[in-house]
Symmetry: D2
Subunit: 331 residues, 4 copies
């Protein structure tokens, strides 16, 4: 083969490689849509608001700890706790043994549950989406960052994209906004929509400058709803919560995540009867801001703990739609 021929061969191979890379990139690129690519995290991101947790954020948050006291701000998982709709939580334990001359005995337990959607639960990016008509006329189920069930996610044995394993651990500043305390009520009324004025009033009462809420903070709302935890029949019905007004404020504040002491965090039902949990869509689907539900803040409030180191490590179930949680506040 002459030199001239070889050169063409090389150029051809390079072109092929380039073509391959282009096609691969194309395959990975979602067409632009109303909420994708994510304006901060960009196309392909699967971690959403947890991206805010950088080493700098960690360092800044650790400085909040003054005494080392740990507060449990999640509930214990047990049979009989409030469950949404027809969800299941069933533990079944068994002992085996004895084994060996050391007469070893052992228990295992077997758990069947919507593990990320019972008790204190963290909604992942794959938990909430929206059915849409696409540019080509097809109907698709679209989730965070434009990932669709049809093209990207579908897998009966766990989501192929935006599974909970992509969420980074939360070691960040937590800010608790005690709406019930601000309103002077033990428990907010059924279906009360928390307003932005409530949020701002509560912050002011707590001595926290609204401007002091920083990128990547975790924002928590106390409705006093956890006082009903032991009464599932009441707990499950029409909780108060934030609506779209506060949701947009949360997005503007660049929160890493939100949480509350009710099962949906947002008001139920929505004041607009046509909409089903629209705040979930606004925060999770459109903005990647995840939501930790069924928390409990009473001990923290007793100590006036409105700012703290927040520690929460979502369990990395591959393809999971959510995670159980043992969230901590440390002061």
């Amino acid at each position: 083969m002459t030199y001239g021929k070889r050169r063409w061969v090389w150029m051809g191979l390079i072109c092929l490689l380039a073509a391959g890379l282009c096609l691969q990139a194309a395959a990975q690129t979602k067409e632009k849509g109303p909420w994708w690519p994510h304006p901060i995290w960009g196309a392909g991101d699967q971690s959403g608001g947890s991206n805010w947790i950088t080493p700098e954020k960690v360092m800044a948050s650790l400085k909040l700890v003054k005494t080392g006291k740990i507060y449990e701000i999640g509930q214990i998982y047990e049979r009989g706790m409030p469950l949404f709709g027809q969800r299941t939580y069933a533990m079944f334990a068994s002992q085996a043994g004895p084994f060996g001359k050391n007469k070893l005995m052992g228990h295992d337990d077997f758990l069947c549950a919507e593990i990320g959607q019972v008790g204190t639960q963290f909604d992942g990016l794959g938990h909430i989406g929206m059915q849409m008509t696409m540019a080509d006329g097809s109907t698709k189920d679209v989730y965070y960052n434009g990932f669709t069930v049809q093209d990207d996610i579908a897998n009966r044995y766990g989501l192929q994209k935006i599974g909970i394993e992509h969420i980074k651990p939360y070691i960040t500043r937590g800010v608790l906004i005690d709406i019930a305390g601000y309103k002077g009520e033990a428990t907010l009324a059924n279906s009360y929509e928390v307003t932005l004025a409530d949020v701002q009033g509560a912050l002011k009462k707590q001595g926290i400058d609204e401007a002091g809420i920083r990128d990547g903070d975790a924002l928590f709302f106390n409705y006093g709803w956890s006082k009903l935890w032991k009464e599932p029949a009441k707990y499950n019905v029409n909780p108060p919560g934030i609506g779209m007004e506060v949701a947009k404020w949360i997005v503007a504040k660049n929160a890493a995540m939100v949480g509350s002491d009710s099962w949906p965090t947002e008001v139920w039902p929505n004041p607009n009867p046509d909409l089903v949990v629209p705040v979930h869509q606004e925060l999770i689907t459109k903005n990647g801001i995840l939501n930790l539900e069924n928390m409990v803040f009473d001990e923290l409030i007793q100590d006036g703990g409105y700012e703290f180191l927040f520690v929460f490590t979502p369990i990395r179930f591959k393809g999971g739609t959510g995670s159980p949680a043992r969230p901590l506040a440390i002061r």
Copy 2:
């Protein structure tokens, strides 16, 4: 009724009350046994080594963080990962919707697993016990602090005592002891029993004074075994690990917990063929020192991270025998 009669009635009632209190106390008191009551934590304790995590320990541990870099030292949970024996890990996902004019779609996933005994797993106090002949000739299955299946624990739907919900969150100092690195091997040989000399040699090589191990530290052992994680057929067979010699050293060091990058932490099978996981009994049953298995330390070792803030929050499944984990090292 005359005064005299009344006096006797009152005395009778007081005696009855006293008798009740005595009987209640008797019912709550375990006879002393070879390993109970626990010499440090006392009768009735259900938290074991996690009691070491005090506000002071938290404050001291936070000081170890210099850069805020987070290391994941647990594995991701997925179908196909190595499982012990006949254990199960089955996730099943389903989408529902659309709901409302906002066309809400949603996934739930349903998980069936020995949730605390698959993947990166934290053995709770109820996981390991010993069958014994008691003073009265009866046979009982005895666990940490003398709690028995027969008198205290038995419940098909979750343990009534020493459930995982009693374990406090671990925010403590982690010390990684890289045995594979010390021995100059990528992966220790099958069934190699790590000696105390290995431990002391590794610590010295890492520049950690053995005397510098403090009450309530979490001690981790790297065997290089996690390199086989993607090959379950190899991973599940005869891992190296610590034996009784190192176990007794761990107890003497007042460790809050231990962990490793193999599925039992201890050598398998035990060099004494009559014994089945005796280190589990020594640490968990007799001393309340819990054990986090199937970890991974490669990234940490690459950065020379032998001392760190260790963050691990066992999920509080009431009556659970173990917990899934997303353990972190922060430096």
Copy 3:
């Protein structure tokens, strides 16, 4: 080797073989006990009353069919049906696809349940036993035919002996004894113990000679309790049922199995407050006569169907303690 030597070698081998066979037999032989070996089915039997279903019994039973009409005498399994105690029945369905140019779609469902102990349920031989002090002073959990948990059965992943897979299919004569009809009540009163006189009276009223009950018949009792099936809060509380008097009559009649339209078949609680479901022990543990619960006979009674071909095929889950059922009466 000389002939003489060879002879001794052969004799030695034969003795070894004999010794082996003897030891094996010894290992398989249970010491005699209060209810074992079973007087009819003998040592080692694991099929109990289902042994009555011979080809002759099948032939005789088929002759009962005159019209070919099939009656469903079991309930449909669904979420929300009455469940005993803390049992679980959770189905979770998921669609996947499309696959291929033929655009195949498919649903699977995932079920988590005490599959043999929910809804219309058939108690297997491993479901009920008795804790006893044995001749050697040890405590054992003894089941049908003397099999013990400690020596024979224990296996966390399914029983090693007397699993439901040993039960033969029931193609036999069914006899329905309508106690509620005899007493002239839609539903018998809570905790009413059905007497032998009731049974005999009902049979007489139905025109069935008591002596006409034959070996291997399946005997069913109607209490009218199934009328409460859609009201779990009532259904689960204190049903009427047979007691020890009728149980002994059932044993004497050599029934292949029994059944009823309540969840325990026997009266609850037992009139003797010290005893917990003693009829279960009498029938299942001591006599191998199994028990199909939560049936429904209304349509059959409407047609006067007191004698019929009974068809029921317990699902063969290896090591299972029970089975779901779709029992049929054919006339």
Copy 4:
């Protein structure tokens, strides 16, 4: 109100009622489609081929029994049996007790499985469908008789239509067609497509007139594949089976159901590489002829049992996509 006015009111009410009935009917009526309404069973039917099982069919089938010998033609369910893809079968057993002075002990077992899609399994009408573009341009997942996921079926907790509870019990004539025997092979070759000539040849060899196959018979195919049951690695790979040619013959024969000793009954993969289990669609989706997989016929063949009373009672899990089975042949 005058008479005239009243008349109009009445007419109005009647019109309203008529309108309501019309709309209800419209809601229940599926537009005609390529395979719906079902030509025999009509619009709205949810029972498919099981409708053939009439009292007359039952009476005729019972006459086939000559000796009363029962043959088990399904497999036992156990951990380790061949499972398709990532399906799960996990049983977990637990003992509780003692209760009462009668020292009652009891086992329950907890089963997690795609209960209708593991082991000997009966594919229900909701198991297989086809994604289609409808007249109005929408995309729907269409199942038997035109029921769609989008309009009729969708329910995460069990199908709302065409659930397995609608299938009538099979008490019918079974005809076994021994293809392996006809071809003189113990086990047919991987991916061999059974031809109509094979079927006709086998029937002839067995002395069964093809014309003698009657409406509502259950047709079974023996491939010898069950000989591999204990070797899941072989069993799961590329079984032989019927193709579209035989499927159409089955439809023409008005079979009540089919079955075989392989996991899909049909050849895998299909000779047309673009198609995924098209025989499933042909039989189940388009014709309502259900399919019982993973059977075993060896004992039946040994006795020359090609015609028999077939007994199979699908378990009525509401909304289920399939059922476990203990199918019997009685001769």
